[in-house]
Symmetry: C2
Subunit: 210 residues, 2 copies
DNA sequence: CGCAGGTTTGACCATTTGGTCAAGAGAACA
DNA sequence: TGTTCTCTTGACCAAATGGTCAAACCTGCG
């Protein structure tokens, strides 16, 4: 009984497997984040990874498998900044720290941000389960925390869901709409992130101060 | 000398041409906004328009021509809300009215918003000229207006560019990330836009009040 | 009606794309 | 050293895709 002929199992077993799966995911992040799922091709990814196309398909069974592996690996990292928001800290400082962490992620991991943006703009066909699962659960948990802070008068009353939406949108904007931001500001490197941090800190501090 | 064999000129001449070009652009808006340029296919657009593929190519010479025609027609509408911001009105009310107009557009024209979002997330390959032209000019003009308002003390001092970015991102979020917003709030129809309007009005009023 | 123009489409084409396969090249280990 | 398992790839395939073309079909108008 032949079962699966070759194709490594879910976890890389050898050094070469580990190195190559990493190389592939790195290249795939480049390509998927730039062109979206349908716009990306295996040839592009293979070329970016310096491997042959059949070799990609030795490590991953299909194009969508590569995409899924990427998203799975990233979702964890992506939700980290929100998870780190502690209910027992100072409310305003916790929220502002969250804003700045999110902005840092937009600067450090713009490809990851664009990967999600591409996916969600197109209706989230491949990650809706994760949005309705992990993300939604975390958001509801944190919305309760924010409501508790409001109840104690530590922050001004605001709709916690729309507060989170506005934090996401304003910070991710600098990654997702990078092309537009740069066309308008034509900054040197990432210099505009300093201004963005100052602006967003002011924006949300004024919003939240009771 | 045959010149162009058939293919209508830039402007529709007959009723049928007018009707069909409109049908095609409408269908193309559906498809491009959902899948991005590379992800959209002529077959999809043809099917959505109820026309045959060769018939599409009778009215438009190529896929990119359809896309370009769409973008050209939309850029005008897209910049309207910002154009309407009057330098001689009450600063805070002008800016808040702009925010609400932008939010209205996200509700009324989500496909248009996603069309631009798709394009810009992927590096704006087809519209960079317009961003660096019309959009940039308009933004610089309005940034000066905002700075003048700040100089007179009518609004709190803020970076006008980042203010505009935050208005764009927070409002367009409800169109571009609609799938995510709905997954988290699961609203009936557009009911969440009422909460969004209230939230954003509060957010920017607090930001701008001196 | 007749017919000159605009309109529509079936059949076709070259290229691209995701994916397969069998055979060969490398490692590893006894 | 030989053998077994891992890794790599050139050649190939079917489907999808953007686009062409000649022939047929309308339609308005004299």
């Amino acid at each position: 009984m032949g079962i699966e002929r070759h194709m490594p199992g879910r976890q890389p077993r050898t050094r070469i497997q580990k190195k190559n799966t990493e190389t592939i995911l790195e290249a795939a992040l480049d390509v998927f984040s730039q062109h979206g799922f349908r716009g990306a091709t295996l040839d592009q990814i293979a070329k970016a990874a310096g491997l042959s196309k059949p070799n990609l398909l030795y490590y991953f069974p299909s194009k969508v498998a590569i995409h899924r592996a990427l998203i799975d690996g990233l979702m964890q990292t992506w939700l980290d900044p929100l998870r780190k928001m502690r209910a027992d800290g100072d409310p305003i400082e916790e929220l502002l720290a969250y804003v700045l962490r999110k902005l840092d992620m937009a600067r450090e991991y713009p490809r990851e941000s664009r990967l999600f943006a591409n996916e969600i703009v197109q209706g989230a066909p491949n990650i809706m389960d994760k949005i309705e699962g992990e993300l939604k659960d975390l958001v509801e948990e944190k919305a309760k925390v924010i409501e508790a802070w409001i109840a104690t008068g530590k922050i001004a009353p605001v709709n916690p869901y729309h507060l989170l939406f506005s934090i996401w949108s304003t910070t991710q904007h600098y990654a997702d709409f990078d092309a537009q931001v740069r066309a308008i500001l034509h900054p040197e490197g990432d210099s505009h992130f300093t201004d963005a941090a100052e602006y967003l800190e002011t924006l949300f501090r004024r919003m939240l101060t009771p």
